[in-house]
Every structure is written in structure tokens, then in C-alpha cells.
Amino acid sequence: MKPAEDIEKFVRRRKPHVKTGRPMDKRVLDDSFAAMDQTLRASKPRPRRIILRSRAARLAVAAAAVIVVAIGLFMANQGSREQRPQMVGVVKSPAEMLTVMSLNIAYRRGGIEAVDEQSNKAFQMLGSKPAKASIQELLSELNGV
């Protein structure tokens, strides 16, 4: 009896050399191409699928979303800051400027000079400031005090 190596050598040397025929090649390739086309058509990459499948794309989209939100918040904050002085500087109508409450606020803010200034502004806007009207007269006339 020969050692196992000889048997192994014997089997190895006699490896069958089978060749495929042309009809087989054609059949296999045609069917394989058809299967490949079908698969690729079914799984055509859509942007959403790419994002979901790729980890890097998911991270990029998340980062972009965070940046957009941050920019949005920053701009909203800036906008509100810019709006505040405008609110203060909103031009009131002359009638509003001469109400008791408005003048009271002006008095608290800057005393009688502030009240005088506010009333002057109101009359300038109205274009009808009496030359010698005192504040007391104005108040009594406007508010019925």
C-alpha cells in the first residue's frame, strides 16, 4: 500500500480539465446580465437611500442640519436685537404723545423738560404749536383736566 501522499498526488495530478461550450457561455452570460440589470434597476440609488445607507452621508446631513439650525437661531437673535431699538424709536402719533399716560412717562423719565420736549415734538408734527401755550394749558385742554 502506498502512503497517503501518493494518493493525494495521484488525485491532484488528475484534476479534470473541463471546458465550457459556447452555448453554455452564452446561456450563462445572457441570464447573468439579465439578472444583474434587474437587480440594479430595482435598487437604483435614490438620494434618500444613499443617505440612509452611508454612515458618512448620515453624519454630513446631521451636521448640515445642526449648522442650519444654529444659523437660524443666530439670525433670529440678531434680528430681535436689531428690532429692540427700533421699537423704542417708533414714532408715536402726536395724539398718543400728548396723552396723560404718555406725558406722565416722559415726566418720570426726564422731569418737566422731557414733558416739554415731548409736547414740542408732538406739536411740530402737528405743525400747530401755539406760540404761547403753557404745559398746564395744554394738559387741561387735551385731557380735560
Binding site: D6, I7, V28, D31
Partner: protein, 180 residues
């Protein structure tokens, strides 16, 4: 190896040329494996056909972990086993050894006398399918026992023992062919 990776990369991007090249490269080896396992050319062709169609259908998602040849050989072996299960009683009763030349002096000389690979195929056919499968995958397709074990879903010890028993049986067939 790099060549293989590039081919697979192109294949995954839908290159038919890459698929054609893969087929051209391995078709004869795979058909030889299927023929050795099934001993039926048309069945073997069907097996190779099915393996390539399935492989093509995996385009875009195919991931290669080992070698392409190893992967395709495993696919052929698995499909051939399924086909073999479906086939009833066709493997039994092949008396090829009897048809061999009995004038040789010793077992190896007898074996050397069997010039055609077809004779070996017929000798292998006298082994149980599992033993034949392991011998063919290991000796003709250079698959390691570990790879075969993974492909067949059995332990490496099982693969080694099938291989050993297969060789013993082959040797005894050759010896009996000489002594007769």
C-alpha cells in the same frame, strides 16, 4: 488579489465587462468542480449557471471576504450538494474500477495507467458524496480544511476525517483494482 478586488468593485457598479471577465476566469474550474461532484455534465452546467445568475443578482451589494475563487467554489459545492440530494440512486453502482486496466503491476502504476481524468472522476464516484466533496475541494481547488468546514457548515474535525476516510477508501479501491 488587487485585480480581484478591482473586478468585484467594478462588478458592484454594474460593469458587465467585469462580470464577463469573472466568468471567463473561473468557468472551467467551476465546471470541473461541479462535474467531479455530480458526474453529470448537464447537471454540472446547470449548477454553474445557477451560481453565476445568483452572483450577478448580488451586483451592488456583493461583499468579498476571502478569494473570489473560494467563494464561487463554495457556491458550486453547495448547489451541487443540493442537486445531489434531489437525485435519487444515480450515484450508486458505478463499477469504473472494473473497467480499468488490470495489467498494471502496483496500485500507483495502475493509477498512472488511468490517463484520463475521467477515470479518476469515476473512482471518486465510488466514494460517499461527502468524502468526494472534501477531497475534490481540497486537492483540486486548493481550499483549506478550515475553509471547507466553513463552507459546508461542519467542524474542521469532520472535514479532516471525511478526507482521511475518503483517501483510505480510494487507496483500497485502487489496490483492489490491481489485485483483481
Amino acid at each position: 488579489m488587487i485585480d480581484q478586488r478591482i473586478l468585484v468593485w467594478r462588478f458592484n457598479r454594474g460593469s458587465k465587462e467585469a462580470l464577463r471577465r469573472i466568468y471567463e476566469k473561473y468557468k472551467d474550474d467551476l465546471l470541473g468542480l461541479a462535474v467531479s461532484l455530480l458526474r453529470d455534465r448537464s447537471l454540472a452546467e446547470d449548477v454553474v449557471h445557477d451560481v453565476f445568475v445568483s452572483f450577478a443578482a448580488a451586483a451592488g451589494t456583493f461583499h468579498l471576504s476571502g478569494t473570489l475563487k473560494g467563494y464561487l467554489s463554495t457556491c458550486v459545492a453547495n448547489r451541487a450538494r443540493d442537486r445531489n440530494r434531489l437525485r435519487v440512486g444515480r450515484d450508486a453502482g458505478s463499477d469504473v474500477a472494473e473497467a480499468a486496466d488490470s495489467n498494471s503491476a502496483g496500485p500507483m502504476e495502475y493509477a498512472v495507467g488511468c490517463e484520463e481524468a475521467g477515470r479518476l472522476r469515476d473512482l471518486l464516484a465510488r466514494l460517499p458524496y461527502e468524502q468526494r466533496e472534501v477531497i475534490v475541494l481540497h486537492l483540486h481547488h486548493e481550499m483549506r480544511f478550515r475553509q471547507i468546514a466553513e463552507a459546508l457548515g461542519v467542524s474542521i474535525n469532520t472535514v479532516q476525517s471525511r478526507y482521511r476516510y475518503g483517501l483510505d477508501k480510494l487507496r483500497s479501491i485502487l489496490n483492489s483494482g490491481v489485485t483483481r
